[in-house]
């Protein structure tokens, strides 16, 4: 604790001294669970992250600071012990986001230290593992809810919708259900709308998002697409040797209105909407029950894609090795490619 003395305020210093034995004991206990938890590493995390959070909590509500300290300290031991935070962490986006959000919302932290500190840490770690940008985006969205969210519970509920918007399309349906429970001002913010919608307007947007996965909320606010459009959303997949998913060029197929890609060893389910596309590992035994003839969208050899809503020419779809479609999404695997093109149908 001696190294901390110069950077901490006097009240916090006093508190740390009073609790020195307990905190040291907790550290030793953590060493039992995480033998590689190094003292200097944790001390660095303590200085860079814990102290600023506790200082902020101290200025907000000194009566709750002890419980906040104990909570944040023990969560930190767990996370630094697992190498998810601290100087040795693979990336420090989650830690930075945790620090920023807990410092932005000291009131929520003081009110519900365990709920807020663990939830925020967990979601940031999950997002940072997928892509650091997603964690940054979530942090930014959550940071912008300050005056609107009145309770930690409401704020965290908004956080679930925000996580979906940051690019977790597999959570689309539960996130929409959570979004419906939010106040329209908070809901509008987490959906990335500049101006808050009325409660009715907000519910209408949610129902449109539910039926049309590829149209963004802002587009609905500005006006629906004037005619059916097929938008190439992007490429997904890639060779496993370059950080992708597939060992061999995959084959696309559909089952029960869901789209799958399968290589020689694994099967993946494609989950996508306007907020992102993701591949989730699926059961290899998923039957390829639907033939291309029954897909609502079909791809010709010259790259023409047609459905009951129209026809579009997509160069990258020419000579496709395989494709699969449901009513809103088309995935095309070009010949000899480990990548797949994801296209979304946007209707007026």
């Amino acid at each position: 604790m001696a190294a901390m003395e110069k950077i901490v305020s006097e009240p916090l210093q006093k508190l740390l001294q009073e609790r020195q034995h307990q905190l040291n004991s907790l550290f030793l206990q953590a060493r039992v669970a995480y033998p590689y938890l190094a003292g200097d590493v944790f001390l660095s995390h303590l200085r860079d992250t814990i102290v600023p959070i506790i200082e902020k909590a101290l200025t907000h509500d000194s009566t709750r600071v002890l419980v906040v300290l104990e909570t944040v300290y023990q969560i930190s031991l767990r996370l630094v012990g697992q190498g998810l935070m601290g100087p040795n962490a693979k990336n420090r986006v989650a830690e930075q986001g945790w620090l920023n959000l807990l410092c932005t919302y000291p009131a929520f932290l003081c009110q519900e230290p365990l709920l807020v500190a663990t939830s925020v840490a967990n979601v940031l770690i999950h997002l940072a593992e997928i892509h650091p940008d997603k964690a940054l985006m979530w942090q930014k969205t959550m940071g912008s809810l300050e005056p609107a969210a009145e309770t930690p519970q409401e704020w965290l509920k908004a956080g679930l919708v925000a996580a979906w918007r940051c690019g977790l399309p597999h959570y689309r349906n539960p996130a929409l259900a959570k979004a419906a429970e939010l106040d329209s001002v908070i809901g509008s913010k987490v959906l990335g709308l500049e101006n808050a919608l009325t409660q009715d307007g907000y519910q209408i947007i949610l129902s449109k998002l539910g039926s049309q996965p590829w149209v963004r909320p802002l587009e609905w606010v500005k006006g629906a697409p004037s005619k059916p459009e097929l938008e190439a959303f992007g490429w997904i997949g890639g060779f496993v040797g370059f950080g992708g998913y597939f060992t061999t060029p995959p084959v696309a197929f559909a089952h029960a209105d869901r789209l799958f890609l399968r290589d020689d060893t694994n099967a993946w389910c494609l989950e996508g909407d306007c907020f992102g596309v993701i591949l989730k590992r699926a059961n290899l035994d998923v039957p390829t029950s639907v033939s291309e003839n029954h897909y609502p969208m079909k791809v010709r050899k010259d790259g023409t894609i047609f459905s009951q809503h129209g026809e579009w020419k997509v160069k990258a779809a020419a000579n496709a090795a395989s494709y699969a479609a449901n009513s809103t999404t088309l995935v095309v695997v070009p010949k000899d490619s480990h990548h797949s093109l994801v296209l979304g149908l946007r209707l007026p």
Partner: protein
């Protein structure tokens, strides 16, 4: 939140499940930082019970002895040393009896004796049970009754208020200040063999009948789990433990020595100043309602008939003593005991039977109803703890030595204990009881009683009821019984199980003959 308060999120006894994963966005708030919110109590009580067990073995009691062994497939065994001691590496989840059995005792609310040398964690283990039952540590400490030679009934139960003693006109108006421990759901008696005999009798009333009595005033105690500790396995201490009190003990658990191989764990505990009893996670604390619910769920566990039948067969081996009486009903060891004769010498008389094969010759007594009830309850508890829907034979095999530890007294003069490799069973009662059960099951298999058991057939027939049974049918049954007895009387040696079968046949015969008599009377 403390690491010692951490409960593993992994299922303690994972079983194959049908995968039905639906994406739940709230999963995002769960993860490496721990549980964010108090999750709804979705976990089942058996899982909670296992969580409690694993928390104790991982964090509270350093007990590396997995002596309750289960196997899913044939285990690897090794013969070690000159004695060729057999070591088995179990292939299924196995348990430490010193932790598991007190925990099971907590939920079935019976009476458990923890025996072992000083400093082996007997009292600490009992205290942990009090804490898991939801009592604060100070209350548990206050409630422990420390046996000592000067302990009086007043010390144990309470005392009349002095003011009332002076001014009262009648016994009714004397108020009693009952000791608080009497009202608790976990009762701990430390070193019970140091309690004077007279006070032991008062304790017996509380243990056996669940009430305490002073000056005609009665305190009704709630259903409770009892933990008694003793340094001496035989129950001898400063005072001899009265027989009735010993008989009330349902389970005997041995506190084994500390393994020096775990000194590092002990050191870590000393260095960090950790006291496990102060860090019990709330997730493994059971409310009174939960313990009652657990109890109900345990009692609902089924004992399959073939398993029950083997238990019957085992239990019928011991009470029989051919030389004890003329009449079949009195051919019991109890008859000899009541006569004052030396049982061992009576058992030692030559009857032409193979005394090694006769399991009854190995014990000085039979099994009481209480012992059998306890065995079945703990069998169910064991099956429940393992996540089973019914009790397996192995559940009984594992629990049996701890339940019968003080219930079946070995007859050390039996030739069984003289055999090569069997002498150790004079000392190792747990091992002996397990072998006894194995031998009984082997004999059951040899007799092929699963397929060929006329007594069970006749019992099942009788269980259907006598209503509507014709005179002819009843006569047929009587003839069948007589035929069976005829067959058995030719050159067949009389063993305990046969004695019980014969008495059962006599009982069935009596029921049918009475019925027949009534039918004939009705006709005439």
């Amino acid at each position: 939140m403390s690491f010692f308060k951490k409960i593993s999120q992994a299922p303690t006894n994972p079983k194959p499940q049908v995968s039905d994963h639906r994406f739940d966005i709230t999963e995002l708030y769960e993860g490496p930082a721990g549980q964010s919110a108090q999750k709804e109590a979705s976990q089942t009580l058996d899982e909670k019970l296992r969580q409690a067990y694993f928390w104790i073995v991982n964090n509270a009691i350093i007990s590396p002895y997995y002596d309750i062994e289960y196997n899913e497939k044939a285990p690897r065994t090794f013969s070690l040393g000159d004695e060729k001691s057999r070591l088995t590496l179990p292939t299924a989840q196995s348990y430490s009896s010193f932790v598991l059995l007190p925990l099971l005792n907590l939920v079935v609310r019976r009476r458990c004796l923890l025996v072992g040398g000083p400093g082996r964690g007997k009292t600490a283990s009992a205290m942990l049970m009090g804490l898991i039952a939801g009592y604060p540590i100070q209350e548990v400490k206050r409630a422990i009754q420390h046996g000592q030679p000067q302990m009086t009934i007043t010390d144990l139960l309470g005392n009349p208020l002095p003011k009332d003693l002076v001014s009262a006109d009648s016994m009714d108006s004397i108020r009693i200040a009952w000791r608080k421990w009497l009202g608790m759901r976990v009762k701990i008696i430390d070193e019970y063999n140091r309690i004077p005999t007279r006070t032991q009798s008062a304790l017996l009333t509380v243990m056996a009948d669940n009430y305490a009595e002073i000056l005609d005033h009665v305190f009704e105690c709630p259903e409770a789990a009892w933990y008694l500790t003793a340094n001496d396995d035989a129950g001898g201490g400063t005072y001899q433990v009265i027989e009735a009190l010993r008989d009330r003990i349902d389970l005997v658990v041995k506190a084994l020595h500390f393994s020096p191989r775990f000194l590092g764990d002990l050191l870590a505990r000393i260095e960090s100043g950790i006291k496990p009893e102060e860090t019990i996670p709330p997730e493994i604390v059971f409310s009174e309602a939960e313990i009652s619910q657990l109890n109900e769920q345990i009692l609902a566990i089924q004992i399959p008939l073939p398993v029950l039948r083997r238990l019957e067969f085992f239990a019928s081996q011991f009470e029989f003593c051919d030389q004890a009486a003329e009449q079949f009903e009195y051919k019991t060891k109890d008859t000899v005991k009541l006569s004052g004769l030396d049982l061992a010498s009576v058992l030692g008389e030559d009857t032409g039977k193979d005394k090694v094969k006769d399991l009854g010759s190995q014990t000085r007594n039979g099994l009481s109803v209480r012992a059998l009830m306890t065995l079945m309850i703990f069998g169910k508890a064991m099956a429940y703890f393992r996540g089973g829907q019914e009790v397996s034979l192995e559940d009984f095999r594992q629990i049996l030595p701890f339940v019968l530890h003080d219930k079946l007294t070995p007859n050390l003069e039996s030739p069984f204990f003289e055999q090569e490799g069997k002498r150790k069973y004079r000392v190792d009662r747990i091992g002996w009881l397990r072998v006894l059960f194995d031998l009984s099951c082997a004999e059951y298999d040899r007799l092929d009683l699963d397929r060929d058991d006329p007594v069970t057939e006749l019992s099942n027939e009788l269980a259907k009821g006598l209503e509507g049974v014709s005179e002819r049918q009843a006569e047929k049954v009587l003839i069948r019984i007589e035929k069976i007895l005829d067959d058995w009387s030719i050159g067949r040696k009389l063993y305990g199980h046969l004695h019980d079968d014969i008495l059962k046949l006599k009982y069935i015969h009596q029921r049918y003959s009475n019925y027949l008599r009534w039918l004939r009377w009705k006709k005439s």
